[in-house]
Subunit: 280 residues, 2 copies
């Protein structure tokens, strides 16, 4: 049973380890403009992708408890690492509130698009090592073949604005060579930063490989879920609320690169508050 | 007045945001094999270089309090970001225990080596934006000219083992072009990760530019300080103690790349303990 009353007017809570999940916020906003969105980016502890499972679980629980303060009707885990390692911790913490992660959404979408059932997955080291996409794909289809590769440099390259750089192409060629040798026909971009590198990745893998953007996939899942639960909002649109745990100098410019529009207001949540939520 | 009794037998405490400072541990160990070294790497919250000053200060105070539990005779701040933004917070917290940072050490060493007094500095965004190296160099010399450039991709490239990669050369050429146009004769590697890219950086800047490794510079400072204070140890050598706040999957392999030898034992400090130290 939900721990607070929910209605179509309740907000959707979205969280990520940092700014990457703003691509998810942007896509949900475009698809469902009447929804009230609250986003939390844990910029004081980003990235999660290089940290251990116990640490990722602890952070995920704190992030979820923070969002629960805003009485959401749904929680969207925009972070692939949390979706891979700690979705069950989020679900337990959310006690009956719907939880949607990017991994199931991306896996379902890839299977719909793949003709040969030869699917590639790229993501952070933590996401790939967790086998979460591989497991999800095999649960959904018995005859799928999955080829996975961690691409740790794609996140800093995207943040540094090197998306179209010659160096990024060289690195992409090296990372993606074995997936191409395996003749994949579909490639899941299993990290919220990767859509920024879409054109470079597409160039390297060739036009015949379909790229799956997990932000689009999870936005579609959100729409389906709310519609089934009769929780779609018809309120007039308002700007999303964006909360962060740290406000580094270059945050604004990076955030705009991911969001596609200027953020006029950011709210800062202190780390002490965040830890305090964990005890409540 | 020091908050605990110190003697030549007391350990040297070293901390960093993560594994990068292991290059400092390694260099001190090589130069002063009889010293007992305790290292803390805040791997649960790494990197500091992309975070704001208040957050870096908070973390630096917690890291210092953790090391004080081991009653050190000296604290070495291996992290350039902390040395740049929060050395005063470390000094206040250490209450009379000596504190040495990599920035002063690197700046002094660069001025000794530079004939033309045209010095370049590279580091993380936070280190460069803090103007700490620029300020330190100008305090030590009135006629020095300093040219600084943030190189955010060098850390992930070093961690990913791409030190000699063609993509790294392309990125280095782009980052370092304006420093070369400014005809620097000395270049400070203002980040503990950068010594791993030394040969690539040297190739790009040419043999005439002297590279300053801040790990070597601070190890020299440690020796001078201990000798002046009559605190040099003559105990028999023992292996360093290495503490971390998170133990991600690939830590062991990355640590070995930085340390040059295998770590047989790592101690895990929980984040809750770390925050608790801050209140004590």
């Amino acid at each position: 049973m939900a721990i607070h009353t929910i209605s179509p007017h309740s907000p959707i809570g979205i969280f990520d380890s940092g700014v990457g999940g703003l691509t998810v916020l942007r896509t949900i906003k475009a698809m469902l403009p009447n929804e009230h969105l609250i986003y939390f980016g844990d910029t004081a502890r980003v990235p999660y992708g290089t940290k251990s499972e116990p640490t990722v679980r602890k952070y995920a629980i704190e992030d979820t408890k923070l969002l629960l303060r805003y009485a959401p009707k749904l929680i969207v885990v925009a972070c692939n690492t949390v979706s891979a390692l700690a979705l069950d911790s989020v679900q337990e913490t959310a006690k009956g509130i719907g939880v949607l992660g990017v991994i199931k959404a991306g896996a379902k979408c890839a299977l719909e698009k793949s003709a040969d059932k030869r699917i590639g997955v790229i993501g952070t080291q933590a996401t790939i090592s967790s086998y979460a996409y591989q497991r999800e794909l095999h649960q959904l289809s018995k005859d799928v073949q999955v080829f996975a590769k961690a691409c740790p440099l794609f996140v800093p390259l995207a943040e540094e604005g090197f998306a179209q750089h010659e160096a990024t192409k060289l690195i992409a060629k090296e990372y993606l060579a074995e997936l191409l040798d395996s003749r994949i026909d579909t490639l899941i971009l299993g990290c919220t930063h990767y859509p920024l590198l879409k054109s470079t990745i597409q160039e390297v893998v060739g036009e015949t490989v379909v790229l799956i953007d997990s932000a689009e996939a999870v936005a579609q899942d959100v729409k389906t879920h709310l519609s089934q639960q009769e929780l779609l909002s018809f309120d007039s649109p308002k700007p999303p609320r964006v909360l962060v745990s740290d406000m580094p100098q270059r945050f604004q410019s990076i955030a705009e690169r991911f969001l596609g529009f200027r953020l006029h207001h950011l709210e800062l949540v202190s780390l002490d508050d965040l830890s305090a939520y964990a005890d409540s």
